[in-house]
Symmetry: C2
Subunit: 408 residues, 2 copies
Amino acid sequence: MVEISRFAPAAFPRLARVPGVSAATASCAFKSGDQRDLLLVALRPGTAVAGVFTQSTVTSAAVQSSKRSVRGGRARALVVHSGNANALTGRHGKVLVERMCQTVGDSLGCPPDEVLMAATGIIGQRVTDEQLLGRLPDLAGDLGEVDWEQAVEAIRTTDTFSKGSTRAFTVGDRQVSVSGIAKGAGMIAPDMATMLCFLFTDAAVEPDELQRLLTYANARSFRRITVDGDESTSDTMLAFATAHTDLAAGGDRDAALGQLREALAEVAFDLAMQVVKDGEGISKLIEVTVRGARTEGDAFAMSKAIAESPLVKTAVAGGHANWGRIAMAIGKTHRPVDQDRLSVWLGPHQVVVDGDQNDELDLDALAAYMKSDSIAIAADVAMGHESSTVWTCDLTHQYIDINAYYMT
Amino acid sequence: MVEISRFAPAAFPRLARVPGVSAATASCAFKSGDQRDLLLVALRPGTAVAGVFTQSTVTSAAVQSSKRSVRGGRARALVVHSGNANALTGRHGKVLVERMCQTVGDSLGCPPDEVLMAATGIIGQRVTDEQLLGRLPDLAGDLGEVDWEQAVEAIRTTDTFSKGSTRAFTVGDRQVSVSGIAKGAGMIAPDMATMLCFLFTDAAVEPDELQRLLTYANARSFRRITVDGDESTSDTMLAFATAHTDLAAGGDRDAALGQLREALAEVAFDLAMQVVKDGEGISKLIEVTVRGARTEGDAFAMSKAIAESPLVKTAVAGGHANWGRIAMAIGKTHRPVDQDRLSVWLGPHQVVVDGDQNDELDLDALAAYMKSDSIAIAADVAMGHESSTVWTCDLTHQYIDINAYYMT
C-alpha cells in the first residue's frame, strides 16, 4: 500500500463556516467499499462563480459543461464525483452530464446551467447512469451544514491525506470567511490524480471581480506546482461567493476587496502546497527559483524545466548535489542564458560561480544539506531581472509503483 | 548492477572498413579501472565534415568548439572522451579544449580548427589538464586500422551494449562504405548518458552536400527517439566523408548521392534504435504514431508528448492498456484535436472509437498484447492528414536506480 506522505499535517484543519453554503455526500461505488465519492454543494441564490480549467485540448464532459456555466456568472450548486472522470466517454458522457445538471436543477429549483460539475478518476471508462442519477434527488434532501472533512473525502482519489485551508478577515464588525478544499497528488496528473480545488466565501462580489481574484490566486498557487508535467483532462478550480456579507460594510470596499484577494490567494497557495506535499511517491519537497532572467516567462519556463526534469528529480531522491543536471534543465528550455556568468545554489551553498564549480564549496556541508527533507534549488542566469519560483517533489520508486502497479 | 538491455544484439556487428579513417584509443582514468575513455580518429586530407548539435542554450566546451570547426567544412581529426563532459567548467574548460585541438593539430600537422571535439559524462566537474593533454601525442603515434568495437568502448558510459551499424553500396566497380558508432542510453539525457554519433564514409562529397545528408538522416533517426525528454549539453552527431571514392565513378553521380543519403539515413536510424533499445531502465520498447494531424509539427508534438509522458510510460511498464493516459498526453500539447472523432489503437486493437471506448474490444486479447516486449501506440486526431512516429521506452524502477542511486 501507499504510505501517507511524510509531509501530511497531523490533522485536518478546522475550516471556517461559510454562510450560504450547504453540502451532502454519498457513495456511488466508484471507489471501493462504501467510501464517499459524490459531493453535492448547494449555494444560496445570487452566488457568483468563477473558474479556471485545464488548458488541455482533450477535456472531460464535466469541464466542458462547467466552462459554459461559468460564463453565466451565477451558481446554485456544485456536483463532484471521484473515481471515474467521465472523460473520453463520447456522447454518452455529455448526455449524462446534461441529465445530472437537469436533475439537480429540478431538485433545487434552479436552471440546469447554474449547476457546476467536476469529476476526477480514471479516464476512458463509461459511467453507468444509475450510479449517479439515482443518488442525486436523495442527496438534495440531505443537504445541511458543511462537514468539510467529509466533503474532501468525497473528492479525493490517490491523495494520501485530505486537503483543506481557511482564512478570515473583518469588514467593519463582520467577519468574511474563505474556506477551500482540494484534491490532487500530481498537479496535473490525470489518472485518479487530477487536481480539483473549490474555494467558498460569503463575500458579495460580482462574477467578473471574482474571476480576476481567482486568476490572481491561481497564478500564485496551482500554476506554480508540478509533479510529473502531465496535464489532466479534468483540472478544475472554482470559486463561489455567496453574497452574504457586504464588502462595503467597513466603509472602504476597495480595501476589503484587497483583503479578499489575499485571503483567496493564501488559501489557494496553502492548498497547492498541500497537493505538492502529497505528490505521488514524494520523499523530498523541492523549491526551484530562477532569477536574472530576461522575462518572467523565461524564468517560469526554466524553473518548470528544472522542476520537471526526471534527472534532477532522481538526483534529489538519491541525495546527490548534481548541479550539472540543473544547468542542463535550464539549457533545454532554449531560453537565453549567459552560461559564462551562470550561478547555481543548493540551499545556502553556491555550487556554480560564473558557469564553473565554486572552488570554495564545502562539500561535506553540502552533502549534509542534500539529506534534508526540503531542498531549495536556485539559479541566476545573468540575462536580466525577472524571477520565478515553482514547487515540486522528487521522483522515486513509489511514483512508479503507484502508476504502474497499484493501478487497477 | 545494471543488467544488459533485453534488446541488446547477440554480438557487436562487423563494420565495413572506411578508407581514409584510422584510430587509436587509450584510458585517461575518467572511467574506473583501465577502461578505454579516449578516442582519437585521424582523417585523410580533404575530408569533409558536417554536424548536428544539441539545441540547448547551455553547451559543453567541446560542442562550442566543434560548432565553429564544422563551419570550415574540413576535418583531419576527431577527439572524444567519456566519463567527464567538460561542461559547466567555465573558462578552464574552454582553454583545455583549445589546447587539445592545438596538441592534436601539432601531432598530425593540421590546423587546430580541423580537429573536431566531443565529450560525454558528468557535467560540472573539472578535468585535470594532464589527464587529456598528456595522452594525445602518444595516441597520435598509435594510429592504425580502426577497431570499431574498441572505438565504441572509448565513447560509451551508461550504455549496456556497444552500438555500431554499417551499410555499403557500389558505384560502378567500386564499393562505398558507411560505418557509424553511437553512444547513449537516454536520447537526450545529460549525465553519463549523452548521445554521441559519428558516421564515416569514403565517398567524395562537399561539406554542404554532407550537411544536407546528415540533417536528412538526423530528422529520420535521433530526432525521433526520446528516453526522458532531458536534453544534453553535449549531444553531437558528426559525419565525415574522406573523399576516397568518387561518386561519379558509375556515371550517374546524383543517383549515387541518393544511395549515399539512404545509406547514411539507414545507419543513423539503426544506431538511434539501438540507443532507444538501451534506454535507461527499459523493459519495453514503445513506438508511437499520431495520424490525422493538421500539420507535421502537431503530429510530432503529440507523438513526443505521448512518448515522454511518465504516466503513459509507467502504464506500459505495468502492462496496463490505459488509453485515457494516451488521450491526456495528446491534449496536454494544446494542439488541435477533434476529441469526438478521436481514435486510439494499442497494437492491432482499436481501443477508442469517436472519443469513446470501443464496445467491440476484446479485453483478453488486449491484455495479452500488453505483455509484449514491444508496444505500438497509435492515435488519429481527425484534424487533417499529417503523421509522425517516435520511439521510446517505458519508465521503470531501474531508471530511478541508475539516476538516483548508482550515480557517483
